[in-house]
Symmetry: D2
Subunit: 419 residues, 4 copies
């Protein structure tokens, strides 16, 4: 028989904190905002609240808590995202048509599951801890998606409502330079304790040639220069697929930039539609735009290996893995502080690495094997973490990934250069 | 100078009654139900509430009420449906992505416009009366759409929520027979006083040959026989376009019929998902299905002219035009009374007439000319009026029209036959 | 036992003449021209040669000629056009991908079938005659399609090759006027002997009101005025569906009109790309364009009933049905003679009648019932006959039909007007 | 002034040989086969003949041969494939609709350009040699495409015509084993003289861990076991994108496999539709299928680096680069010899490497920079070379690349395994 340990108590506290944070993020919403799915990528906020709860019910409670009563067996169909192993599910593109279960029902669902999770964690079973931690990181991913999706829902509405009114972080204009990183043999991937996804394991060595890494992210002002230099029309800067992609854009600019007369405006969560701040990092770009910009600037994107090595050199005191100290300074990129190299907590940085398995990566079996291992094609790696990423969810070895045309995440550009 | 007349007072009362009815129809909804657009044809309920209000603001108040203050000039973009003459507007398929303006804001909009309309109607200007009456009939059309759209939103949700629980009308099994109508020369179209759309005017004579008209609508039970006889697979019963259309159906059955094991269930607003009642009229059919069924039954659909003549013969006491006595017995077709020939207030009946102008039809100029005159291609006429049609909006000369594949309206089948 | 009759001899002669004409129409083609299908509507010329042959093999020889040997049983799959009753068949959109059977093989197929048909017709069976006549009219329809499809294949190629070089008919500028036609009761539909499709039967009376019919077709020059008056941008002239359709046009002009600097050029089969002749009938228009033009001109399109009555009044000596005297003056509309009212042999004239069954129209059973009866939805009637229609295939009661957006046929505009 | 050198003479001979080979490959075709484009990826054979000629005209003759007369300036529009820098061009999907220029005209074009190239090469200018060699390798790529496209045109035709009747190479059943390759630091990329594409340069070192490489390609028989074990339905074997892709397949099998009763048939160029040979390499697979098969087999795909290292170990005598000794034994994979490790000249082998630039890869400027550098996203690397690849076009450092769903090339599977 097992007894509750301190570790278990810690996880129970984390459980409460992370679960409450999801609710807090939705507080500024109007009832209508919870339900819609304006494009396939953007899920209804209430769906995120339900899906992250289903994760605990389905993977923790059902297998581990005897006598657990499902809240409503019909919800599996609604809240399974893509787990082939977990049965049939709603077409992703159909999520925004489901007015029921209502938000009220989903909040009841959360309470039901939270109470049961409390019981389960009380039992202090060691095997449950890892899965709960994984479920909480899963929920943190959905917290980031929540903010991105909310931004899309509000930012594509012609009334341009603000999400919440917070003072912006002060911005400071800072020169850009390339910081040299020596060539050589480096270890890549997660090591030691702390949470990590399976795709960060299989730590291994790579050879790098000497290169320079940008001292900060590219700014709105710099990106505007690219645009004014005909950047979107100069095909020699683009990948072939990128040319085709850019032709489909109604506005040749980052997402949420809107033209008003001669000036560009930018929609941000804190300020609604407002003047473009030239000194904050440019964000909401596709990989195609990041790649073309870098070529225009006479530079290139870093590989994910270069990025990880540079990150350790520039911010040696960053912990190797996230911890549960939440950052309090959540600022959805109206503006971001410029007091460091902006390596973490500003934008997800597109790299020039495809999302592929590390050597000897073992695709896990079962449902959790579907988590990272079945997306390893047609996606590019992003590194860093954005202003929408929970602080305890950021670490130097984190491998985020998206298709190259996606840009509703807070994505940005850091330049690199052969030296 | 004009003074308020009795007529104006009547219109003001009608205004109040019709406008309140739109709100009443939405009362059973949850907050989430107001916002979504699961398919292009189905508009969000809150959009209907806003659009019907915009009609009064844009066509009545702005031109006629001095010093009228727009509620919010940005709403024109949201609530213009298709009037090319009234400026740019939201893509129809985008209505369901707009969480703002919120329902609360739209209800404020309605109050603002209602107060102004009260002022305007107080002025007793004769020219305003006609336009207001037209606006109210326009709103009644949207009341019918509201019910159809609500049914789609609820009836395509796997939880199959009921709309409201009302006792069904008792159903009686009644034999079907063909009632002969004599050949000859008949007058078609609206005459006399009372409201009518422009497309009912240009009363004119047509020649008809003798025919028989079905004594009642086709029932669920009869339609099921057609299905069990291989109706959906027997191409010789179908139009070429209908074959192609039927191939795309995930379920070869009327809309809202769901298979459960060996039995068919039907979703209705009153009862949710329940056993099929074989004795009530089959509804939610495309023209293709109605046409194929009629051929299977050795019959055909009536032309709109035959229908209008038969209607007058079978129900001679039906007023030539609707009046403002509201039927109280709104029953969204869980079941319908069978105490008459079901000519009005049960289903919109597909005819075999294309929607084309009557001889000498004058397409009106200006925005109101867009109302009926610009849809005169690719649509088929429906006659009668459904259980979702406001009673004062039904009359024998009414020409409803939809594309042949549409079936989210309460559409049904009445047979006709050469004699 | 039957003996060959003179009638059978006549049909055998007609068989030879019509079949040879299909080959003659293809003579100007290069080998490559026979195979492609640039859009779904345009079938490869060699497909027409095969399909019209399959018709005789499948409907005449197989059922009626004992011991007939199929040329190649696999060809049914290639050359069945849309007969559901005749088994599976190639996707229509896939016709242009089939390089085999080659043209040479198809010409062998024609010879094989022609020899067998000779035998069959020699037997002098009366029931065969009607079907053969029908098969020949079917082939004549495909002769018209051949010319339309050839024009598309050549006219959408940037080298704009001519089809064959024939002198144009001289054109004469002729004033347009409206010729009055009295109101009253008229008989519509085919009567007497001679070939006709099933859809022309069921002769019946209609009531018409007095109207005026255009004395000639609308010309290129007149249509250009409409264009220069902003015709394509003035939404009040269009049907809603037409506005949407016109927005998809890369060039806002009739098909085969190309802009070169400040001038319009027109591709014609006889002359390739050449200056627009303002005095010949405008052709290759959709119903949407015809309808909008008529509204701009303060007129309207005629109904098919008005057209048939007017045709009889203007050209009383036109035979009620086609006969087998072939016109020799085939001119694919580089220019057309203007010495009559242009009612037949110039353009198919869009009417404002939907293609629907005449009263008491009996949809034939079996494969031939699929011929006209299963297209009676979503199409508009055209009357007259074009410069590409074989002369013996034209008659006043002929009902051609196409969807309103089609314009690769030689379609044109005749105005009508309420008087 | 320059004089012809031996090197120039050699290139002139190569020019003649390679250019003739393109014509030879087309000899078995019927006239109709030259023109069609059944899917976007498959270009008409006559387009390849024109495009490869345009390459010499546009990049060699126009800039370098004074007084060169364009054959026909309008051909640039037809035969530019994707060079943004070389002006407007036909939509790729439209190539199969162009019946003109005819094959005869294109053969004239080839002669015109060949005569001029003879003159140009006679001048013995050193700078011309490299470009000519590049143009010849470009033409060899199109020779491979020609065979793949011809196979698609013939193999998707229900008559399944053979391309040419050649005896198959004898096949021998050979056991499969994993050959160990030691971990360590290896050099990757082209070195020394001989032709190579820009994307093979930037030779650099990589670190590999010990692994095993399959001793031969996976066979039809082995792949059939995977299918019979439910391979296409077992989602845990697939990438998410692969599951979605496989759902769209009408036949769950490699391209050109057809089910006949209980047996599988395979279309090959030499034999038409014939019994599946279980001992020859399985080919015409997507990356998704290759990846799923490898996982089912308890193995994985090699990276392109592992492949290059293993290739050198298994076939140390393979020249580092192609030379102009043509293999005579072209066998379009009805069957292939099994007398070696099948590393070259059997199938293009999918790797698990995305197509990305090598470190310090310099994207060339100008039109030739569009050649390889603008496709570096969304594609996977294939290594080896297929039975359709000209022998002098194969080398161990060659990086072929396609999107993961493509399978009309002769693609195959070699397994790898962690040791």
């Amino acid at each position: 028989m097992t007894t509750p340990t301190t570790a278990i108590t810690a996880i129970a506290q984390q459980y409460t904190r992370v679960r409450q944070q999801s609710i807090r993020l939705c507080e500024p919403l109007e009832a209508e905002d919870y339900t819609v799915q304006p494009v396939d990528d953007v899920s209804p906020p209430k769906w995120h609240l339900g899906h992250s709860t289903w994760f605990f019910e389905n993977f923790l409670l059902v297998p581990n808590l005897p006598d657990y009563q499902l809240f409503d067996e019909r919800l599996n169909w609604f809240f399974n995202s893509y787990y082939e192993s977990q049965g049939p599910r709603i077409l992703r593109s159909n999520r925004g048509n489901m007015t029921r279960p209502t938000l009220a029902a989903i909040l009841d669902y959360r309470k039901h599951v939270d109470r049961a999770m409390e019981q389960l964690l009380d039992r202090g079973e060691a095997t449950v801890e890892d899965l709960t931690e994984l479920g909480l990181h899963h929920e943190q991913q959905h917290q980031e998606l929540l903010l991105c999706d909310i931004k899309y829902i509000l930012g594509s509405n012609p009334l341009y409502p603000t999400y919440r009114n917070e003072p912006d972080r002060p911005t400071v204009r800072q020169p850009h330079r390339f910081i040299p990183v020596a060539g050589g043999q480096y270890s890549i991937g997660h090591e030691g304790a702390g949470f990590r996804w399976d795709n960060e394991l299989s730590r291994h060595d790579v050879l790098l040639q000497q290169f320079g890494i940008g001292s900060r992210l590219v700014t709105n002002g710099e990106y505007l220069e690219f645009m004014e230099d005909g950047g979107y029309r100069r095909f020699e800067l683009w990948q072939m697929d990128g040319i085709a992609w850019a032709r489909t854009l109604p506005v040749k600019a980052p997402l949420y930039w809107y033209r008003e007369g001669d000036a560009w405006k930018q929609y941000t969560l804190n300020r609604g539609l407002a003047d473009l701040d030239p000194d904050i990092p440019v964000t909401h770009l596709s990989w195609y735009e990041a790649d073309a910009y870098a070529r225009w600037a006479g530079a290139r994107l870093a590989t994910e290996f270069e990025w990880e090595v540079a990150c350790r050199q520039l911010q040696p005191d960053v912990p190797r893995h996230g911890n549960w100290v939440e950052r309090e300074d959540f600022h959805p990129l109206a503006a971001t502080s410029l007091d460091d190299h902006q390596l973490m907590g500003h934008c997800w940085e597109w790299t020039n690495s495809a999302y592929l398995p590390y050597p000897r990566y073992p695709r896990p079996e079962g449902a959790l094997g579907e988590y990272n291992g079945k997306f390893m094609i047609n996606q590019m790696v992003l590194r860093g973490g954005s202003c929408a990423t929970p602080g305890s969810h950021i670490r130097p070895t984190y491998r985020n990934f998206f298709q190259p045309e996606k840009r509703w995440q807070f994505t940005g550009i850091r330049l690199a250069k052969d030296l």
